[in-house]
Symmetry: D2
Subunit: 334 residues, 4 copies
């Protein structure tokens, strides 16, 4: 029996998820769709054989919808997630879970009141093969206890409305979640260094940036965020342990020898880089929903990521080291 | 509407295809199953909700079966393929298409008489991302005209009944097909060099071997086949063109620095190495069947591969250079 | 006519320089030797056909000595350098130039008073091929203006008397000099992060450490110093520019495929890693001395490195960001 | 006391050796020089403070000359080597030792009659670090017994007078010597494959070529020789053993990320690629001469290489597999 999913939001990522749920993942179909752009949403609904609704709330309440995928405008995430919880339906929400820590907290509280974990947040890097291998290496003790992490997150060019704050809130938030997952501990302090700005940067964007995080046990993390690096989409992560290091590989592309050099391509954007992770993320979510027990990033993870990225933003604005206060994790989420 | 597939043969690869058609690929379900081992076939049929049949012929004729997948014992391939053609059903046949060139020829003739291309052969390397990139590089003229190909096909250890002949018939046949597809031309001569045999080889197996092929335009190919290389499953392919070279990458695994070395894992077997290619192969076959027009390796490709591997075997046995006579490709297959 | 060199100090690096000046570099010979350990110094003098002197001062004043190499205990460097300047002889001094900025300053003043550049400091990384290539890439504009540098300096195990302070004073000082040389500008601020200490660390050593430097134009540098990384001697340097990045290669060692992995060796110690740089450094110094005009790292460079490493030490001790005040470079050194 | 060397031949390689013996290697000086181009030879003799002689014979007999380096036109090698033997002087002869196997044989006989090994042949690859590491890996049993070798020898563009025969006689002869040295055994058969000729090839040059060699124990070797590969100078060598493989690394050049690719430079010519090997070769020859006992490639090695390359040429001309008959190695050379 196919899982019937309602999708709220048919922008780039929303439409891609609809395609994925229809063509790539088995045992699931998209039953209902809505978007603030009703014309586009209707067209997509027709194309994929789903029913169009005027509002996200109607999608959530629709009887032919078993579970919800939220890919709408960030500021609307919280309300749709809370509605889904009220409706007692599993909900997959694209990151960020909400645009403020307070909203995340309300979601967490609503979920606890509801008594069942229904929310998964779209931190898809946890489903990337490379990060998974790093986690295994750490847990197998192959490099001893982790002490330092060096990370890089570079985009070829920024989106048209990219702001200085978005380096952290949109890009580094992926590292914030996945490194916490790798290490199994929360963060203690944040600091942000602002290197000389690239002369190719426009509209007042301060880019690149370096985020420094300290975990509760004292592991130190540096994350370069550079959204205008020009040459490609590049994500790097090296974990330095007591007896060795492990790092993400570059994606496997054919190796050329020509024009005086040995070379291979670096992907131009994140879609190519993380396509398998997105597929695996929703595939495992569908399976988990059908089994009735989620395994992915929780609302609590979304809340902690939001608190941490808020602290990074504050550190950047003030130019100081900021302490990060993570509330104790409720037993509900352990 | 899901495509309903009947699977003949539930050995390792057959069972894996049933899992793939059920859990990995959308728009398809396994409706019928048979195997010479009826007990196992019944168990799998139950597990995947398919109907069990006593014979492959019954699967082919079953009204609830739209298309056939053949993964039975090699010597049975030809009969099932011909039955499928007679039944007018699309059929995916694991390689080899048949165990003799004559049988392949009979299949080709049956298909031509039937008037429609119904047969696809399971040469999954054409669906590997790396080979696809190599083909693009060649076709885009990025390395000029290809002149030489250096290939390596190594298994960690041979299967329990592996024979000297199987280095060509089971392993190198993958190179025979995929290189012909890369280059767009047939082979002219074959020669086989027999290096000093590994002292770890058992049961009279002559291993490693080197197959030398010459294409009709004079491109030279060397293929090392080593089924007992001990260290892992390793497939390499470098195309040397007039202005540059292109080669397959190693699969992307995390990079360690430990114990005095930088290293990454090489997969132990072909399942891990080519899992994406197998998925893509059947996914595209299902889509093509639904559209009514196949795009993958044809019966003709299976026939040519069989003629070529026969010539290689003859070259190995006689220790001479053997000419390869490929009949003119019928217009039906162009 | 061979240059006649007097060497003060016959510890590990001193003896290696004597061997190098005798066997590896043409146009030079070691004429005089002294060391606090007279027995060892006499033995080495005999072995290499040089004259033994009781004191460094006697070596400096010896009429058969054209130029001086200082490889004695760090606290003695300043006095021997100043004596050499007084004697009007060219002097190569192993790093550090002196153990305090004040002593460096006295050397600089003595040299200016003397009216001729006579001092070169042993920052051999400037002679490493990789760093040289990075400098060319930057100067050719191949990656645009540098914005960020990520550096790693790892030793397999620390020396027996290694202290927390020595991570900066003995190891990172190499980065302090070579990065300033790469970028052509001085530093503005320093900060030191202290990650969780390795459980393999002994005798109170706080290791690893992360040094953060900011240059006067705002370039940001992070340097991991880890003297007990267990797996090998590893120096990494990546320069991130506006349009691309460039990084040091690993040394070229043969590539193995065995035991399920592809791997190559990482050298166990710095002698192997930088042997060509040491050779090139002294070769070019000998040539420059014979031509009468030094080209390598100056006393001023040694002074600036000392001021910077003092600031780093202060930053580590206080746990704060420390401003670095570099005096204006005298015209004498431009 | 410096070794005094006479150099015959001041073409490209001869002049480079004079520079090397003067500026790079200690304990040696160039005392005498001659060349068929007397004007150039005189100029070089003046520049390096050596005496000019009208003929090679005069250089060999000059009392101020301890040992000889021959870098003259290939057809003159034999006569000068034999004269040197007669004079009882150590002689380093650039490869080839002679242009015919008969001449090589006469040299060998002359040397045996003289009763002392005086001749070293300029097969500098034995001094390349990478080949040395491969030899260690084999001898340490790290990959089990060698079974197959895959080699590549590519030049960016051919010299102006390059002929089809020179692919073997000038290029592949390096592999012929160094692989025999790696494996410690002679060759049994040769075969040459002629792939489709590059459309960029001129003047009737048949290029690329593939040389197939079989050793006496049955190890199989394939060597691609491509003198017009356009992209750079590229030497590759992989040894496939029973339990693993080992291969030459690419030279270490800085790694760029720019313009959508990760890349590093491949050297344009052999001078850059093998400069350290040339230095090491002559340095060790000078040391060995001073100690009175050579360790490098002998006249016998030069003879065997010549016999083998003659067989390869014959195999290419006839298009057949050619047996290689190596006389038993005299005890004198063991």
């Amino acid at each position: 029996m196919d899982l019937r999913v309602g999708v709220i939001g048919t922008g780039a990522i929303g439409e891609d998820h609809i395609r994925r749920l229809t063509n790539v993942i088995t045992g699931v179909k998209v039953a209902a769709i809505s978007d603030i752009n009703a014309v586009k949403a209707k067209r997509i609904a027709d194309k994929f054989g789903a029913k169009f609704y005027n509002t996200g709330e109607e999608v959530i309440e629709a009887p032919e919808v078993d579970a919800i995928v939220i890919a709408s405008w960030d500021p609307t995430h919280a309300q749709y997630v809370i509605e889904s919880i009220k409706a007692g339906k599993f909900v997959f929400c694209e990151k960020p879970l909400a645009t403020s820590a307070d909203d995340c907290k309300r979601i967490v509280q609503a979920e606890i009141v509801g008594g069942k974990q229904l929310v998964q947040v779209g931190f898809m890097r946890r489903y990337d093969r490379g990060y998974g291998q790093i986690k295994s290496v750490i847990e197998n003790g192959e490099i001893g206890a982790p002490l330092i992490l060096h990370c890089v997150h570079r985009n070829r060019i920024p989106g048209p409305k990219h702001t200085t704050e978005m380096n952290i809130k949109n890009s580094v938030i992926h590292e914030i979640d996945v490194l916490r997952w790798l290490l199994g501990e929360d963060y203690k302090t944040a600091q942000v260094l602002m290197p000389k700005c690239s002369s190719l940067s426009e509209n007042g964007l301060q880019d690149p940036q370096i985020v420094l995080l300290e975990t509760q046990s004292g592991i130190r993390i540096d994350i370069e965020s550079f959204v205008n690096c020009q040459y490609g989409y590049d994500v790097q992560c090296e974990v330095v342990g007591e007896t060795g290091t492990v790092r993400l590989p570059d994606p496997a592309n054919v190796v050329m020898r020509s024009s005086g050099a040995r070379s291979y391509e670096i992907f131009p954007d994140w879609m190519d880089r993380f396509v398998e992770a997105y597929d695996a993320e929703l595939r495992q979510w569908v399976d988990a929903v059908k089994e009735g027990a989620l395994k992915g990033p929780t609302a609590w993870d979304g809340y902690v990521a939001c608190i941490t990225s808020d602290a990074c933003s504050e550190a950047r604005e003030k130019g100081t080291i900021v302490s990060i206060f993570i509330p104790e994790c409720p037993a509900f989420y352990k």
